[in-house]
Symmetry: C3
Subunit: 445 residues, 3 copies
């Protein structure tokens, strides 16, 4: 029996500034599904996480129903007005170019150009984020206010991009633990300059990786930094069997940077260990949580939780993708997120990880209550109405050390923060009064 | 893998007039537990359903705790007043005679006669329906208003009936399907001239039989037209093992003719496929449904659902037996039911049958989401806030194609009419993206 | 098949006076965890229950985590005031001495004495009940009003007690039944002169023992009269395996003497046969029941229900320990309990026992409804709206004789007092229409 209970080393707080500065560095890079922007992003992460591996998957590789597309890179892209000025320029903001735009150098009337322009009348100052990964297309995104001011005349559209066989690039960091059971931390690296969705996820995931690396943990931690959807699918096509066998809980880390809300998206099944853990932490350490259903899903839990994959993955978020006005526009910039926003999210995730580390099913080692008074855990004097009320929590915890509920389950049943039970469990373990029970076999570890 | 998904050939509506005219023809016949009235009824049904078999079970045949009683037929029956006029005559209305009255030709005082008269003070113009199947007895039923007007004096009671060894007669129609799994449709043929209870059930069941015969269906359909209680028990004594092995759902069709209500009576267990299907259809296609409990049962579900039989049988009704004022009286006549009432009931039953035909557990054929955009099932352009919102229903359905929930269960979980999922399932099947899973083995069909 | 259904011999009521008088006799005895007070108590019970065995367990005997302590007896104990008067005397009330006080004969100032005095400022006229079983200590308990009046000066504290190797004494009475399945009735015998907590439990348990002895019952009844906590633990260390194998339900009988409330404390699991039975009886025969949770436990259910023991034990109480103002003080005297209070509690327990005796899972012996009219159990004349409404209860009961629910479960499902089903079940058994189903095997007994 090895003692797997992690001490509650809640090394929380104070990392917000560091995460924010990392996000600032990553902000300008031109990420997409593939290309050098992804590589540059991962290289910066490697400065802090040298063990992070950059994996290159060739164009044309099959992954279930999908095929890795051509790699896309952009040298420059702009729109010349009839008077020759660059009215829209990729160099100003990488959102100006529709993602995966094919090369073009063409003159056309404003009228014909309109089919290639995207703007948001409801957000007249925002440059929207548009992509066309799987249908050849080119286009420019701009503020609606600017679009309305475009003069009639001939425009020249220049997209100097390459779309040719290359690689899909992702980052992977596996931190071995004392057991082969794994926690999955997933985030994505395919969005251009947007802060809450997506840089907040990258920097919080990187912070969690730092925590995992600090000492050998009970669980093995698998961090994946992939392009959304096709990246997750490619990753699963390579690791499905292993992940299904070993993953005990997972978290899709996204939209964790602002301070306006806390949100929760359950797994497809809704009752996995990841769900129970996250809900317990949110109940005890967050207020006004917006509870979404799995029908509101939108990120890579779509793949992790799909019927043939079925991993226990949930999301704790700030303002959820698709729900805040700046979503998928240039307004989702560094002013939208904050050190405090990032730090609060990271703290909740660390609480989850530390609770999972400490979560065991325990069984009392002998029938009946132990004699606690001889161990100083119970008052020797019985005097109802007198001073020295006894602490019921230890006895209540012991009462449910029946090998059926895990620590989180006992805490839910008692109605107490599981973090309060962790030191109690440690004390009882040291005294030999309880022993952990293995999850699968029902036998002691 | 044979494609068992029925197309949603909702051939609904328009049959109300036809069913109503059939009920009109059947109305005058003097049905009872046994006798020529039952045979005449079944013979008329055979005109439309030539495959309907008329089965004769001899008097004295044992069926579990029961014995087939003597056959009863009536030549004439009347009551002569002191002045010699026929004040009550079976020829006027077959409800005037207590069912299974023994022969009598006797003079007696009005005072002595009263013990043989039945009327309803609360419904002074109604002739009540009274039977005495298993205790020898004779009696007359009449309007309470008429009874109060009977003059003092000597009356002559004449019942020219026969009660002797013969047969219990029932109708059976088994329509073979592509699988031996069966749907049971049951109704009864033992009530004299009453419309909602019972002719509505007979004509709707006959209409459903017409639908079942129109083409080869996935399921085998078993239609039974039996005298209530003893007929169902006799039928079960002959078919119990077969029906227990093959019946996946069943419906007791009764009281389906008026327009005042929709009612639902669950099976004894309450959670069978029949319950889930009927509740789903009612939720999506009916309003103001009266939900009864199995403790309100009263028809042959008493036998189909009894502990040693335990078939999954429910009832969708209009105004339920025992709950409407005209029940079991001459007021339950053809004015109480209508073509629209019959048609609405038949439509709900057809929806149930067609949903059962289309109901499979499906499993996605590969992990992760399929690439829907290359199949034209997902927009190639991603532009949040732009036009062209994608339809989430297909993705939501796919997300629960995990081989656990059936189509009805997925529809209930999503909160959508299952009929909307049927064409989606067909499309996904054609594309090879899902496959049906057999109910028992958990393997693909 | 032996007919295990007990007749509903509800020999209830009228025993209150007898129980009260027994409590009066037991009241003055100086009980503690061990010692002659326990023996004297059990000897008085043996007058009525000659088969009650007194078991002596030697000091030093190990019981799981516990060791039987030294035996404690008191010759005399008092406090002399500076003027030589006995201001506090064990002879006046045995609560005046802290339980398990070590011997002492010492002069000390009032100031030094205070550390050895216990009183309740909130109850200035009450002498509190204080013990120190496992830490050597001496002390006196007195009314707070008296304590405030103690004059400054030298006091002499005399405790002439013995604390030396001896025995822990408990009482056990096993009444064999027709089956080895057991009902546990537990109460405790370690409190000095207090009426509701604890004498009420002793006298009601003794009354139930009288009922169990009156005739051979279906179940074997195990009555235990033990010192609380360590006594129950010692008892379990000797009988654990047997009790786990045979106990089908158990009751911790305590605080059953006053008339102010009815209370229920569930078992740890909350859904055992004992829980279902007690809740059913309380629902049908008590009003304003206070429902506690297992987190409010405090008596020997702490041991019976502990994870490694896990017996199905519940408590039906009057005013629960710890909840009424007089608890654990001299105010919990004979004026607090009453014959009516004891009798009402005893009646509820007898209803539980008799219901358990009658509780079987039944299965209908044949498919479909039996023909009840030929047995006189159903009207032969069918006349809706006429007189002679049929009793649905028999049919409803039969409908759930499916071998799945037990009699209590069927009663809960129907929503009727199970006592009404008992004679119905007996009648159906006699007619051969149902048969009992064994609990473990699912087969008929």
């Amino acid at each position: 029996v090895s003692l797997e209970t992690a001490s509650t080393d809640l090394e929380l707080g104070g990392a917000g500034e560091e995460m924010y500065r990392l996000a600032e560095r990553l902000f300008p890079l031109g990420r997409s599904l593939t290309g050098d922007g992804v590589r540059a992003t991962l290289r910066i992460l490697q400065e802090r996480l040298p063990a992070l591996e950059m994996v290159e998957v060739p164009t044309g590789t099959r992954a279930f129903d999908w095929v890795v597309p051509d790699e896309w890179n952009v040298r420059e892209a702009y729109l010349l007005a009839p008077d020759g000025t660059r009215v829209v320029d990729y160099a100003d903001h990488n959102l100006h170019l529709v993602g995966y735009s094919v090369p073009v150098d063409e003159e056309l009337s404003l009228e014909d150009l309109q089919a290639h322009l995207f703007s948001r009348p409801d957000l007249p100052d925002a440059v929207p984020y548009v992509t066309s990964y799987y249908a050849p297309f080119w286009g420019f995104c701009l503020a609606h206010r600017q679009r309305l001011g475009l003069v009639v005349g001939r425009y020249r559209a220049v997209v100097d991009s390459t779309l040719k066989p290359g690689f899909l690039t992702y980052g992977e960091l596996v931190v071995p633990g004392r057991t082969p059971q794994e926690i999955l931390i997933s985030t994505y690296v395919c969005h251009p300059s947007m802060a809450n969705n997506e840089l907040s996820g990258i920097v919080v995931a990187a912070h969690l990786a730092g925590w995992a690396l600090r000492e050998t943990r009970r669980f093995t931690y698998r961090f994946v930094f992939v392009p959304e959807t096709v990246g997750a699918i490619v990753y699963l096509s390579q690791h499905l069997e292993h992940m299904q066998r070993h993953t005990v809980a997972g978290f899709q880390v996204t939209c964790v940077g602002d301070e306006r809300a806390m949100s929760f998206l359950p797994s497809r099944r809704g009752d996995t260990l990841a769900d129970r853990c996250a809900l317990h932490v949110l109940l005890n350490h967050a207020t006004d949580v917006r509870h979404y259903s799995f029908f509101d899903r939108g990120s890579d839990e779509r793949q992790w939780c799909s019927p043939g994959v079925d991993l226990p993955v949930v999301s704790i978020m700030r303002s959820k993708y698709g729900t805040y006005p700046e979503y998928h526009t240039s307004l989702d910039d560094m002013s939208l997120i904050s050190p405090a926003g990032l730090d609060g999210s990271a703290q909740l995730y660390l609480r989850c990880l530390q609770l999972l580390e400490a979560n065991h099913r325990y069984r009392a080692t002998m029938p009946c209550e132990p004699q606690l008074s001889k161990r100083g855990l119970y008052p020797s004097l019985s005097f109802h109405g007198g001073e020295g009320k006894r602490d019921h929590l230890l006895l209540d915890f012991l009462t449910y050390c029946d090998g059926e509920r895990d620590l989180i389950g006992v805490a839910d049943h008692i109605g107490v923060d599981a973090e309060r039970l962790v030191p109690i469990a440690e004390g009882l373990l040291e005294q030999g009064l309880i022993s952990p029970v293995d999850r699968e076999s029902g036998e002691g570890l």
